[in-house]
Amino acid sequence: MLAALVALTDAACSGPGTMTSAEGPGAHRISLLSVGMFAIAAFVFLVVICFLAYGLFHRRPEGSGGDPNLNDHGGTRMVLLGGVAFPIVVLIILFVITLVALQAQAREDTGSHVFTIDVIAHRWWWEFQYPTQGIDTANEVHIPTGEPVLMDVTSTDVIHSFWVPKLQRKVDAIPGRSNEVTLQADTDGTYLGECSEFCGLQHAHMRFTVIAESSDAFDTWVADQQKVPVEPTGAALAGQQVFLGSSCVYCHSITGTNASGTVGPDLTHVATRTTLASGTIPNTPEELAAWIQDPQSIKPGTQMPGSALSPTQLRQLVAYLEGLG
C-alpha cells in the first residue's frame, strides 16, 4: 500500500504543487522528513501484515468452544516488544529529528534576510507589499533566486494560510497577528502558491504565483514596478476616463490618478501580471473584458460587482488597463 503511495507520488511529480519535489530549503526539510517517515511507516505496516497473515493462516487444532485457560505467556512478550519497546525507540529518534528540523527552521527565520515582504491576505486575493522597495502588487510575488526573503504574513478579514508547496511550509494568515516565514527558491522558475485554510466561498480560487528570478532580472522588475505609468493616449485615455468615472475607484488604486481604494488589488502595473482574479484566469484582453463584465460568473461570491459598460467603453477600459505595463 505505502510503496504504492511513494510510487504514485514520484510518478505524479510533474504537478506544480508537488511537495516531494522540493525547490526550496524549507520544502527540502519537509520532503526529507516525509520520505524517512514513509519508510518507517511502510516497515511497520509490513510487520503488522506479516503477523496478521501468520495469525490467520498458520495451521493449528480447530477448537469448538472458547478455551479460557490457553496461556498467553508468549503473547504478552510480543505485545510488550511490538507495542511498547520498539515504538518508544522509533518515536524518540523521530522526536529528536523533529527537534533538529525545528531548530533549523528557527535559525532560518531568525537569521538574516535580504528584505521583507508584507503578505496581506484578503477575501480571496493576496496583497504583497515591498516596504523597502515601495511596491504594492497582488497575486504575483517576485523574489531573487537563492536569497532568503522574510514573509510577514497577516490577514485583514478571516484566517487564510500562505502555502507554497514546493518551497516552504505553510503559515496561517491571522487577523491581528503577524507570522513570519522565510521564503527561498534555489532555482529560477514560477511556483504555485495556494490559500490552505478554508476562508469562505472562493477559497478554491485564491492562488498566487511566486516568481524566482536572477537578482538583476529582479532589479529590473522592481524598477518597472516603481515607475509611475506614462500618461495614456487615444483609446487608453478614453479608457482612463471610463475608469475614473465608474465605481472602480472605490476599490482599486492606480498611482498617478486619484483612485485610491484598497478593497481590491492595486492596478498600477496590472498588465505585467500573467494571471488575473488571484490565479483564476489568464491575463488576456478577452478574459479581462469578461471578468470586468460579470465577475460573479467566474468567481461566484467575489466582492467585485458586475459592471454595465457599453461594449465600446469596455474596450477602451481594457485598452487602458492593458497599457499599465
Binding site: 504543487g17 503477523f51 491571522i174 497577528r177 485554510e197
Partner: protein, 620 residues
C-alpha cells in the same frame, strides 16, 4: 421454580401495551435500538452529502454545485458523521449492551436515558432544519472565527450549528454520566475492575472523556453565540479578543472527541476477535490500561491541530511529544489483537471477524500516517491538505465505521433474535473494503500534490484530476457496500434464521440471556468468578432474583460487592416533555425571541419539577 420467577419478573417489568409505551419507555434495550436506528439514518444522510461532494469533485472545474451548496455540504457532512452518527450510535450500542454485559437489568437512570435519546433526536432535527430553510451551517465542522463571526457569516447558518451543538451536548453529557454510574454501581457481584469486559472498559473511558470534553465545546459555542448576537469581542482581534482562543477551546474538545469516537470501536474489536479466535484476549491488563491511557493523553495533544498558526516552537514541542507517545497505547492494543489471533484456535471466519481484520489493516495505515503529524515540520507541510483528509478517513471510517459494521453484525442476532445472511455480509465487507481504499488512498497523493482541503473545485493543471475520479468511483463502491448491509439487515429481520442465545459461543454475559433478551434481562443476577463467565461457568443462575418490584443490585465500585437492592422507576412521558421544553428554548433562541425562550424555559422547569418530585425521598 425458574419459570415462576420469570413469569413474576415478566409481569413486574412489563410496560403499557401499545404505542403509548413508545413515548414512555425507560427500557435500555428499546432506547439503545432507537439510538442505533436514528444514528444509521444520519449515517445515510452523511453518506449522501459525501456522494454529492464526490460528484462535484470527480473532474476539474465541475459546476454541479455552487460554492455555497458545497460549503454547506462539507460542513454538514463533517458535523453529521461526527456528532449525529458515530457517537450516538456507539452510545446506543452501549446503552443496549453495557447493562447486559455487567449482569444487571437496566441503566442506573432509565428516565435520564430516555431523555438523552429525545434530546439527541431533537438536536439532529434542529441541525438539519438548516437545509429546509436554505441556510445550513457553512463554516466547516470546526467553524473557525472570524469566518463564522458576525461580520463574515451574518446569516442564521452558524447560529443553527452552534446552538445545535450546545443542545446536543446536553444529551451527550447526560448519556455519559448515566453510563459511568451504571458501570460503577451496578456490576454483577464478583465483577471486580480486573474482570470487567474490555468493551465495558472502553465505554467507561469514553464516557469519562465525554463528561470532560463537552464543556470546552459548549463554552466555545456560548462565546461564539455571544460574539455573533450580543456584540462581545472574544474572537475579535481589534478589541482584545483572539481568533486562536476559539481554536484552543475547540481542539481541546476536538481531539478527545476523535478518541471518543475511536475507543468504543476498540472495545468492539477487543470483544469480537477473542470470540472468533476462541480464546481470551492476550494481555488483558495491558489492553485495559491502554484504553485508559489513550483517553487521558488525548486531552494533552490538541495543539497539533494548530502547528501552522505561528505559536512559539518550544510550546509546540510539548504537544508534539504527547502526540507521539499517544500512539504507544494504540500499538499495544494492535499487537494484543494480533497475539490473540496467533495464540488462538483456527479463527472462525464470519462477517464481524472480516470487518475486524479489515479494521486492523486500515487502522494501521491511518495510525502510521497519524504519527507523522506529530513531527511539527511535516505537519506544517501537509496540514489542511488532502493528505489530512486521507488520514482522518482512515482512522475514522476505517477506525470506527469498520468496527461499527463488525459490532452490528456481531450483535445483530442478540438484538433482533435473527441471524443475518452470511453471503450478503461477505459481499458487503469486500465491497466496503475495496471501495474504501479506492476512495481514500489516492487522497494521500492528492495532498502531496498540493490539493488544499475544502475546495469546491480545482484547476486541471494541479494534476489531481485522475485521482479525484478514482476516488469518486471508490465512493460509489463503498456506498453500494453500505446499501447491501442495509438490505442484509432488512431482509434478515423477517426471513433470517432464528438466533440461539449464544450463536458465536462468546464469553461475555449478554450471551447468557435469550435473543432478544426479555424486559427484565436476567432472571437472577449472575455471580461472576472470572473474565470470561460463559466459558468458565456453565451454570450462571444465582439466587439473587430480586422480585420485590422493579429492582436491580447496587454494588461497590472496585470489587462489585453487593450493597443493597435499588428500586427502579416506572416508564414516564416526562423525559420526552422535558426534551421538548429544551427544544422550545433552543428554537426560541435561534429565532431570537427572548419571551418565547423564557416561556419555554418555565415549561421545562415545570416538567423537571414533576420529574424529580418523587426522587430520593419517601417512596410514593
Amino acid at each position: 421454580m425458574a419459570t415462576a420467577t420469570e413469569a413474576r419478573l415478566e409481569e413486574i417489568w412489563a410496560e403499557e401495551p401499545g404505542p403509548v409505551s413508545w413515548f414512555t419507555t425507560g427500557d435500555h434495550k428499546r432506547i439503545g435500538s432507537r439510538y442505533i436506528v436514528t444514528a444509521l439514518v444520519f449515517f445515510f444522510l452523511g453518506g449522501l452529502e459525501a456522494a454529492l461532494m464526490r460528484w462535484q469533485l470527480a473532474q476539474p472545474g465541475a459546476t454541479h454545485l455552487t460554492p455555497e451548496q458545497y460549503d454547506e455540504l462539507f460542513s454538514m457532512h463533517g458535523t453529521t458523521m461526527i456528532f449525529l452518527f458515530i457517537t450516538p450510535l456507539f452510545t446506543g450500542l452501549a446503552n443496549y449492551l453495557v447493562p447486559l454485559m455487567i449482569g444487571t437489568r437496566d441503566m442506573a437512570f432509565p428516565r435520564l436515558n430516555a431523555f438523552s435519546y429525545w434530546i439527541f433526536l431533537a438536536s439532529g432535527i434542529f441541525l438539519y432544519a438548516g437545509f429546509v430553510v436554505g441556510a445550513a451551517p457553512n463554516g466547516g465542522w470546526f467553524a473557525y472565527p472570524p469566518l463564522t463571526g458576525p461580520i463574515f457569516d451574518p446569516g442564521i447558518n452558524m447560529d443553527i450549528w452552534s446552538l445545535g451543538l450546545i443542545f446536543l451536548s446536553i444529551s451527550t453529557t447526560a448519556g455519559a454520566i448515566n453510563l459511568i454510574v451504571t458501570i460503577l454501581k451496578l456490576r454483577a457481584p464478583g465483577m471486580t475492575l480486573a474482570r470487567m469486559p474490555l468493551y465495558v472498559w472502553a465505554m467507561f473511558v469514553t464516557a469519562w472523556m465525554m463528561v470532560l470534553a463537552m464543556p470546552p465545546l459548549t463554552y466555545a459555542n456560548v462565546l461564539l453565540q455571544l460574539d455573533r448576537n450580543l456584540g462581545t469581542h472574544f474572537f475579535d482581534s481589534t478589541a482584545g479578543g483572539d481568533p486562536l482562543l476559539w481554536q484552543h477551546l475547540f481542539w481541546l474538545f476536538g481531539h478527545p472527541d476523535v478518541y471518543i469516537i475511536f475507543l468504543p470501536a476498540v472495545g468492539i474489536i477487543s470483544t469480537v476477535i477473542p470470540t472468533f479466535a476462541r480464546r481470551p484476549i492476550v494481555g488483558y491488563p495491558y489492553v485495559a490500561l491502554a484504553t485508559v491511557l489513550t483517553g487521558i493523553i488525548a486531552f494533552g495533544v490538541w495543539v497539533h491541530h494548530m502547528f501552522a498558526t505561528g505559536l512559539p516552537p518550544l510550546g509546540l514541542t510539548f504537544f508534539a511529544a504527547a502526540s507521539m507517545i499517544i500512539t504507544i497505547p494504540s500499538g499495544v492494543q494492535i499487537f494484543a489483537w494480533l497475539a490473540t489471533i496467533i495464540r488462538g484456535r483456527k479463527p472462525v471466519v464470519t462477517t464481524p471477524f472480516l470487518f475486524a481484520i479489515g479494521f486492523i489493516v486500515v487502522f494501521v495505515i491511518g495510525g502510521v500516517t497519524g504519527v507523522m503529524f506529530a513531527s511539527v515540520p511535516f505537519d506544517q507541510g501537509v496540514t489542511d491538505s488532502y493528505f489530512i483528509v486521507a488520514h482522518f478517513h482512515y482512522v475514522l471510517f476505517g477506525g470506527a465505521v469498520f468496527p461499527m459494521f463488525a459490532g452490528l453484525h456481531y450483535w445483530f442476532p442478540k438484538i433482533t433474535g435473527r441471524m443475518y445472511n452470511e453471503t450478503l455480509g461477505r459481499w458487503s465487507f469486500w465491497l466496503i473494503f475495496v471501495g474504501f481504499n479506492l476512495t481514500f488512498f489516492p487522497m494521500h497523493v492528492m495532498g502531496l500534490l498540493g490539493m488544499p482541503r475544502r475546495i469546491y473545485t480545482y484547476p486541471p493543471d494541479l494534476g489531481v484530476g485522475g485521482l479525484n475520479l478514482l476516488s469518486s468511483v471508490g465512493a460509489a463502491i463503498t456506498f453500494a457496500g453500505a446499501v447491501i448491509v442495509s438490505i442484509n439487515a432488512i431482509v434478515s429481520l423477517r426471513t433470517g434464521a432464528q438466533a440461539s442465545a449464544n450463536p458465536w459461543g462468546a464469553a461475555t454475559l449478554e450471551w447468557a440471556t435469550t435473543s432478544p433478551p426479555p424486559h427484565y434481562g436476567f432472571a437472577s443476577i449472575p455471580v461472576v468468578h472470572g473474565r470470561d463467565p460463559l466459558w468458565e461457568q456453565p451454570e450462571l443462575a444465582s439466587d439473587l432474583t430480586l422480585t420485590d418490584g422493579r429492582e436491580i443490585l447496587g454494588t461497590t465500585v472496585t470489587d462489585a460487592e453487593p450493597e443493597e437492592a435499588l428500586a427502579m422507576p416506572e416508564g414516564s412521558v416526562l423525559p420526552l416533555l422535558t426534551a421538548l421544553g429544551f427544544g422550545g428554548v433552543f428554537v426560541s433562541l435561534l429565532l431570537g425571541s427572548v419571551p418565547a425562550a423564557v416561556l419555554a424555559g418555565l415549561m421545562t422547569l415545570a416538567f423537571i419539577g414533576a420529574w424529580t418530585w418523587r426522587l430520593g425521598g419517601v417512596p410514593a
